[in-house]
Amino acid sequence: MVKKRVVHEPLWVKTLLFLISGAFLFVFIVLPLVTIFREAFKSGIAVYMETFSDPGVMSAIKLSLLTVLICVPINTFFGVFIAWLLTKYRFPGRKVLITIIDLPFSISPVIAGLLFIFLFGSFGWFGAWLMEYDIRIVFAVPGIVLATLFVSFPFVARELMPLMRELGKDDEEAALTLGASGFQIFWKVTLPNIKWGLLYGIILTNARALGEFGAVSVVSGFVRGVTTTMPLYIDILYGEYMFRAAFALASLMTFLALVTIIAKAVLEYYIAAQRKSMEVKIQS
């Protein structure tokens, strides 16, 4: 019998590693998070709530929610569509398309914003035409939505592609031989298989869409109360020495981020469970 070789670190090494990584996480992640809430509530709950009666803050929250409400469904729809296309079919140019999906990840958000200025600004490709019909895209809400769509696009597709590849097309082919239509196959076979991964992608899309600063700040024009999303408004408040209000709004965003992270952790648990059941299926 071959003795299994197990590496045992001495206890002090383990303790040291734990302390170092623990201290690092504490200083760089936990402490700043705590600071945000501490600063926000420093002058009491009444002052904290006052922040949210400022019409500028409220319109920033509304605009952020509107942006998320538009971007998340659109990116979910096209994300599923493209992941389906890229994993279930083989066609020339497929590799190129996969690379293009990653573009919003690799391009700096500032460049992403400038891109829309180059397209829709008054000197842009469509600038003269848009001006003639008085359609405003950049320095208005549509520009903010477009920039957010762009930067938050890859998450759903990126999350689904490995999952769909792993699942293969056996289930779909079986459904096809049983006479299901393409539409039925998607709703009854594919969607139930990918639902956890899809939700995971949606949560990431949501987080990015809500938090985007760089790209949005380029196309915003910073018209307060009209084209300022939550992250932009935090920047404005900070610039106006309204630190309490800036931290109050920041704490709201942080709270939303924490909810997102918890949802993400729960989903990861379900995804792992699904993986396991898949492995069992394959082995049996």
Binding site: L66, I74, F120, S122
Partner: protein
């Protein structure tokens, strides 16, 4: 079928985003004032007073939206399509730049359309130092000494920074002569540790992050910090020579004509010269252009002020010599990097 519904809902939402931005303007009159960094508090106050005045006079309810940032960057956003009805920028050159880049957007003679070169308020550049003035800074000579850490924004993007630069140049020229001025300014920028893109960024660097020994600041910004925000930790030092900064205001012809807001835009800018507005201006530490009202605010130090028109041959010449690509400022920064 569900998919159809979903697609329809998405499409409607997307269209709603257009309606959200475009529908708003129709109901009542809105103006967009695109301004520079430190005027945020001033215009917040002024907008309220103007809205009341205009409603009492005409019955029209006017809402003024504000946008603030580095003066040069704000001018660029208007050039690229930000729909400003009025621009209230840090210097005349930035308004000229809009009219030059997009012909007809602002009439060439704009500076003559309102009193006092279209500058309802002026300001100057002073030094802000930490309490007790630990480095003993009294005049421009003291901030070019080795070991003094200076904070000022980037003249390429910030209007205030250009005034800072020219004020230093004017001092050196008066004291040491034309050919020594460049060396003096080079020494000054050799002492700069953080070059923020806008005046507000520099103030935050100095006040909040605690960096630097001296901040070259708008006089209004310096008073705001000393009187209201700094908690008694800062002092103002007034140099012997500085520059008369004339922030300019005008309406954007191309946009007010299209939106039909010309009358209210003119009223908005004209009312800046009224006594009520001049007092708000003084209260926010800008120098009122009305000399009678200015007397009510004795906080403004009497110092020798040079002007861009008389001492630098106007903004076009000053820009070409100092701030254009490969101008004096670029050369100075290149020399400093080589060291």
């Amino acid at each position: 079928m569900d998919k159809m519904k979903l697609t329809t809902v998405l499409f409607v939402l997307f269209l709603a985003s257009f309606a959200y931005s475009q529908g708003k303007a129709a109901k009542k009159v809105t103006l967009l004032n695109v301004s520079y960094d430190p005027t945020r508090e001033l215009y917040q106050d002024y907008n309220k007073v103007f809205a009341e005045h205009y409603k009492a006079k005409t019955g029209v309810e006017v809402t003024i939206n504000q946008s603030h940032g580095g003066s040069g960057g704000q001018a660029r956003s208007v050039i690229e399509g930000n729909q400003a009805d009025v621009v209230t920028l840090a210097l005349a050159f930035d308004i000229d730049a809009i009219g030059t880049a997009r012909k007809g957007l602002i009439a060439d003679n704009w500076i003559a359309r309102f009193q006092q070169n279209s500058s309802p308020y002026t300001s100057t550049i002073v030094f802000l130092v930490r309490k007790g003035n630990p480095k003993g800074i009294k005049d421009w000579d003291d901030i070019v000494k080795p070991g003094v850490n200076v904070i000022t924004p980037d003249p390429k993007t910030s209007g205030g920074a250009r005034w800072n630069y020219l004020a230093a140049w004017a001092y050196a020229r008066a004291k040491y002569g034309e050919d020594k001025a460049r060396d003096f300014v080079k020494k000054l920028y050799g002492n700069v540790s953080v070059l923020d893109p806008g005046a507000r960024g520099s103030t935050n660097t100095f006040v909040q992050r605690g960096l630097g020994d001296v901040l070259l600041a708008w006089e209004n910004e310096a008073h705001l910090i000393v009187k209201e925000l700094g908690g008694g930790n800062f002092e103002i030092v007034t140099p012997t020579i500085s520059i008369l900064a004339e922030p300019s205001v005008t309406y954007v012809d191309g946009i007010v004509n299209k939106r039909g807001t010309k009358d209210v835009a003119i009223a908005y800018l004209e009312y800046l010269y009224s006594e009520a507005a001049q007092r708000i201006i003084g209260k926010h530490y800008y120098r009122p252009s009305n000399p009678e009202i200015a007397k009510e605010f004795p906080i403004f130090a009497n110092l020798k002020l040079v002007t861009v028109d008389k001492d630098f041959g106007g903004w076009a010449a000053a820009h070409k010599l100092h701030f254009a690509d490969n101008g004096q400022f670029d050369q100075i920064m290149r020399d400093l990097k080589k060291k």
